[in-house]
Amino acid sequence: MRTLRRTLTLPAARAALAVLAVVAVLAVFGGLIAPQDPLAQDTTRVLQGPSGAHLLGTDYLGRDVLSRLLAGTGRSVLGAVESVGAAMVLGVVPGLASLWLGRAFEWAALRVVDALMTLPFTLFAIAAVGVFGNGLNQAMLALGVLLAPLFFRVSRAAAVGLRQAQYVEAAELMGASRGRILRTHIAAKVLPTIAVTTAHALATALLTVASLTFLGVGVQPPAPTWGGMLAADLGYLAQQPWAPVLPGVLIMITVGALNLLADAIRDSGAAGAPTRATGRRPWRRTREAAGTAAVPQPRERRSDEAVAA
């Protein structure tokens, strides 16, 4: 809660959260507040410019662009949330467990994570769709598997120092169970770091969802998605050169807000800031571990993604 309060004092964080709140509302209620049926075609009014009837014009089948953008928000955003949720479950739990379940598990988990980190997001998601069928869930769960190493590394790096902290050792000596130590002494300290990672990962996942739907992967036509609309609009640049800007700007603003939020959480000192409980030394160790193992990963993967897309 302290982290949250600190974060909210930053203007950038407030702006990012405001944008994300709007996106969240659109993701949940976008289909309901769409002025028209996003799938309703009117071939007598194709590729029209903005008008009273269609505030953002119509697409190549005469469908209302505003309604499609609103209705497409949920599918685009929830895909990213799904993949990051899967990544958290698959990454954080083994990440923390690797510190407590013995060397054999630690060694095996690290090797699996190393192996997963070599795989490119988009290609892996396309392959998963090829094997399991063309659906966003399949693609997103595959993406979640690839994002999991990020959470594994970050949570492990944040916790590795805490494990040696005197108050944790004291709790162990007093007979606290492993689960209790994880819940009360470790989780609270690791969560802020995971929050930063989550925001970054959501941004990465959103871009990957947009890339996949741009390629027509993972979406059941004619359901609208931001990436799908961007791809379709590119075929009609001669008629509507401004059309791809609309989904493009939505993607850009949402990803920008997520990155801004991640920066703000980090700047608020959340990602392992020294606290009275942890003391100075554990923090230093955490920074070192995170700096070598965790922090460079999202940046590196994002640049890979741009090449693949």
């Binding site: 930053l10 071939t43 190549y60």
Partner: protein, 520 residues
């Protein structure tokens, strides 16, 4: 760390700003350089090589005509291969490697006379023995994809160096037309004897051009073949063939000189003209279709097939997909072709009420679920889905990769309905075989009604120059469109945009040819 609270973070912030500034500066410099480059480039890119035609079109599935798996490949293969015959602009067979041919009175033997001193592009002699070996390979190779077209051929012989005799199992007057396409392309026996597999990437023919380099999915470079039998008509020094350009960039690519001729979609015609490019809309044999599997429920009931045909508003499809370039059709042949049946005009004109009634008769008044398979969901499939919904058919769109389309749709025949295009064929009977034959690629139901087989047999036995031929062929067309499940939607003209320095392209309906074309 909190940068806002920690003065130590200031240099990092400054560094980021510097980096941003540098990035913006570099981006601006690159943009300026790009603008400068485009403004100084010669329009159409002629400076890159005079007399070289750069065609944004499609690369073939294989450079070996016997194993090419797409009808569309005929355009690319015609650049490097020649046949005994070729087609004139209207689709009639005219002499090519053969200077002429004669049928015997029974129509079961056709004798081709070769032109003198023919050679393959590598200089090897192209004589009757080579023609026999090449045609026999297409006929007898166990994996040949043209063999089904040659089932009426009983034997091929070469009694003299310039004479090829083809004996037939029954009268078949389609042979000269058939041999004008992939089926009759003559492959150098010296190549397929030793290393047949290499033909997929290194064609060995006697066409107007010779392939000099080929990068799969990227580019094919060809140079003029001075030994081509009609080399005097080939004015181009070289040829570059590229995959189908992207709709969003094709006009810019033509302006920049990446291509000087390119296939463009109907949506880009106005933009191309506005950019100062010449646009030719060439009537072709290509027809947009739905391949319907009549062996799979619910299409085992002909009333459901009929309902499907009546439920589709072809005018709307033509308008949105092709921007009006083309014509609504209910049959496989375009207007003006001998097989075009005027009696089938408007046969399945859009009538949703009738479609609903037919579905109700078939016991589907409460609705019907089908799967519409396509390789690209946007456009026609989405529109057809919406139109079918109006009559109570819930179509789920299944997208399969383009690379698997041939395997899944044409070979496995494992889908109910596929959104497809028929590329046309050199011979009318060949077109019937592909669309409606029991082994036809586009007849997934594998059934042909006896009346159609009889009508087709009559076509085969009628000489092409007989006054009865159009009547007989049109009767077969009428039977086919009424008895077969294929749904014909609209004709797809070949829309080619070209840079100013390229002379007009020959308007040939079946295969795009380049005789007489010049590039300034």
């Amino acid at each position: 760390m909190n940068r806002a609270l920690n003065p130590g973070s200031a240099p990092a912030l400054l560094g980021r700003r510097k980096l941003l500034g540098l990035g913006l500066g570099a981006g601006a410099a690159m943009a300026l350089a790009a603008c400068g480059g485009s403004s100084t480039a010669a329009p159409g890119g002629h400076s890159a090589g005079a007399g070289v035609l750069k065609w944004g079109w499609a690369l073939p599935t294989s450079w070996d005509p016997v194993f090419s798996s797409a009808g569309w490949d005929v355009h690319a293969l015609s650049l490097v291969y020649a046949g005994l015959t070729k087609l004139d602009p209207h689709g009639a067979a005219v002499p090519a490697l053969a200077s002429g041919w004669t049928y015997d009175s029974a129509g079961t033997r056709v004798t081709f006379t070769l032109r003198p001193n023919l050679t393959f592009s590598d200089g090897t002699a192209l004589d009757a023995a080579a023609v026999k070996k090449s045609l026999d390979r297409g006929r007898t190779d166990p994996k040949s994809l043209v063999a089904p077209q040659l089932t009426s051929v009983k034997a091929i012989s070469a009694p003299a160096a310039n004479t090829v005799v083809i004996d037939l199992t029954h009268p078949d007057y389609q042979i000269p037309n058939l041999l004008a396409g992939k089926t009759g392309m003559i492959v150098n026996p010296a190549e397929f004897g030793a290393n047949a597999a290499s033909l997929a990437a290194r064609p060995a023919g006697a066409g107007p051009f010779t392939l000099t380099s080929y990068t799969q999915n990227e580019k094919a470079v060809l140079r003029r073949n001075p030994g081509y039998w009609d080399a005097a008509s080939v004015k181009l020094g070289g040829f570059e063939l590229y995959p189908l350009p992207d709709a969003s960039t094709v006009v810019a690519a033509l302006q920049s000189g990446q291509y000087n001729v390119a296939q463009i979609p109907g949506s880009q015609v106005a933009a191309a003209q506005a950019a100062g490019l010449e646009v030719q809309v060439i009537p072709s044999m290509v027809v947009a279709t739905l391949d319907v599997d009549s062996a799979r429920a619910p299409f085992t009931d002909p009333r459901v097939v009929q309902a499907l045909k009546f439920a589709i508003d072809r005018e709307a499809l033509l308008k949105t997909e092709a921007f009006g370039h083309g014509e609504v059709t209910y049959q496989p042949f375009p207007k003006g072709y001998a097989g075009y049946d005027p009696g089938s005009d408007g046969l399945f004109a859009y009538d949703p009420a009738k479609a609903k009634a037919l579905l109700a008769q078939a016991g589907h008044a409460g609705g019907l679920d089908i799967t519409l398979t396509t390789s690209a969901a946007a456009g026609v499939p989405e529109q057809i889905q919406a139109q079918l919904k109006q009559v109570g058919i819930n179509a789920k769109i299944e997208v399969i990769p383009q690379a698997q389309f041939t395997q899944i749709i044409y070979i496995q025949h494992s889908r109910q309905v596929a959104v497809d295009q028929f590329a046309g064929r050199d011979s009318a009977v060949q077109a019937f075989q592909v669309l409606f034959g029991q082994q036809g690629l586009m007849n997934p139901g594998r059934a042909t009604p006896p009346e159609l087989t009889a009508a087709l047999d009559k076509v085969t036995r009628t000489p092409l120059d007989s006054p009865d031929y159009p009547t007989v062929l049109q009767a077969a067309t009428a039977t086919a469109v009424r008895t077969m499940p294929n749904v014909f939607l609209y004709t797809v003209p070949r829309i080619l945009a070209r840079a100013k320095g390229v002379s007009p392209l020959p308007e040939t309906t079946v295969v795009q040819r380049f005789e007489g074309v010049t590039v300034a």
